[in-house]
Amino acid sequence: MATQILLKNIDVPGLAGFQVYRNLGGYTAVEKALKTLTPDEVTDEVKKSGLKGRGGAGFPTGMKWGFIDKQSGKDRYLVCNYDESEPGTFKDRHIGTLNPHQLIEGMILGSYALGAKTAYIYIRGELFYVLNIIEKAIQEAYNNGYLGQNILGSGYSLDLYCHPGAGAYICGEETALLESLEGKRGNPRIKPPFPAIVGLYGCPTVVNNVETIATLPWIINNGSDAYAAIGVGNSKGTKLISACGHINKPGIYEIELGLPVEEFIFSDEYCGGIRDGNKLKAVVAGGSSVPILPAELILKTAAGQPRLMSYESLSEGGFQTGTMLGSGGFIVMDHTTCIVKNLLTFARFYRHESCGQCSPCREGTSWMEKILTRIENGQGTTKDIDLLVDISKHVEGNTICPLGDAAAWPVASAIRHFREEFEEHIKLQKCPF
């Protein structure tokens, strides 16, 4: 059985309540940190653990904390990114619903390390019922002296609040999230300056994903060496993978990084194979934004090595033959799936979610949806395929935030690996599925 850091006690009844969490060893990491470690020592532990951000970009967490401006004399903030809107990603909902105190404990540790006196959990508005659960847990943490003034007599004080979004994928992008938290439209900011220097209310700020933060108590309790001992290469620790689509057992799995993809898809411990005995056709391994791979390339790299669930192995081969671990949203398609139609739903998503600030993204996403609709409905021409590739190239790298890339990559990769399926739609003048 793989090490479980996030899901270990997830089935314990009442885990969302303070006392149950406490009885299972909860809040000991906060005690350890506040009583025996300085903030910089906590940061060092996280640096040494090799933990990378679990929101999608995989940026080393300790290094990000190291950038925070502690000299400015301004307040500092920790903000938890609970926007969870990347299609295929449904892991953070699980943590907040069933184990909110582990997230809260992580927020206290991170805030202590950064010297934040106030922290926010920005949670997508659709998940209001989860916000209610977390707020109840926060109240319990206050009542038991783990939040508020002078926590455990340490002299350290922290206020923690939830903040709801209201339906906008772009607010998952960290600077759009900060704009939204300030009560504005979720328009991403031009970087630099990065939030570590100019973030919430112009103050130094770190934005971290739910899973990243919920991992912190384990690292502080067990030490960075123990964490770094799990995983493979530079992919340390465990990762939540939310698996969906045409598998027998959709759900949320905690894997040790380095697990072979084949084992993840076919073993009964994880996805349990493809539904109805069907054949695996393709996988989008890290949320809708990452390149799609056909069965051969997701199971083995172009060099013929078994593909592993790790940052390095999934991206091996670059975009020609590889993909990315991303957010861990693992979307599996069997041989009955129309790749064009699936892509069209993504294209519609990105057109809908573009904030509209930059024209390559605003216009490009709209054109890609239009052309894909045409092809799917049997009205496309051969030129349309090249036009799609051309548009995706003009969007990629030419926008303020990475949503443009996120919209372009699925299109470019679907055509790269499944061009004949687009051609067939055009030849038959209808969807062959």
Partner: protein
């Protein structure tokens, strides 16, 4: 459906909640409370934000009305036109589509006799399509107010519709309560 509701002030109780929320943000940064307040305002206004309601929210936060309008129009959860008592939101993104979301949408369309974006004549139901609700493993997924309904089948959809008709379901309730 009611579109000419008179804006009176929030109740004492709601105002207490509003003030507690405003106090979560630093002094001078009250505008941060805008999204939470708009959620509350929408729930108190039959599920949509009228210009009068937005003006009232602006006055609570001491900001210009235009600052409220431009935010309200950005976020998909805010309805700027009247809606039915029970708004059914059907997820249509890839993972739900892979698991039959199109059938579910078609079923609701047929049962209610309306298309996405429309409201039934009796004002009871509005149908909406939405993008990924972060529950993809259990697709098809629909949302009604704060409730998620997952692994939907046409049978389940029928049962839910019957239940909502019976109890005159209202999907917009104060999300904090």
């Amino acid at each position: 459906m009611q579109d000419n509701i008179k804006i009176s002030e929030f109740s004492r109780e709601t105002l207490d909640l509003v003030n507690r929320i405003i106090n979560r943000y630093p002094k001078g940064r009250e505008k941060s409370a805008l999204l939470p307040l708009l959620h509350i305002a929408q729930s108190e206004n039959n599920g949509w934000l009228s210009p009068e309601m937005m003006d009232y929210v602006a006055s609570l936060l001491k900001i210009e009305s235009i600052e409220v309008y431009e935010v309200a129009s950005f976020y998909s959860m805010f309805n700027l036109k009247p809606v039915g008592n029970c708004v059914i939101e059907v997820c249509q993104t890839g993972p739900c589509w892979l698991r039959g979301a199109e059938n579910i949408l078609a079923h609701f369309e047929a049962k209610l006799g309306i298309k996405p974006g429309e409201t039934t004549q009796d004002g009871k139901f509005t149908l909406k399509t939405v993008e990924c609700l972060a529950a993809c493993g259990n697709g098809p997924v629909i949302q009604v107010g704060k409730e998620y309904h997952e692994n939907l089948t046409t049978n389940k959809a029928d049962e839910l519709l019957e239940k909502w008709k019976r109890e005159n379901k209202i999907s917009h309730t104060n999300p904090y309560l």
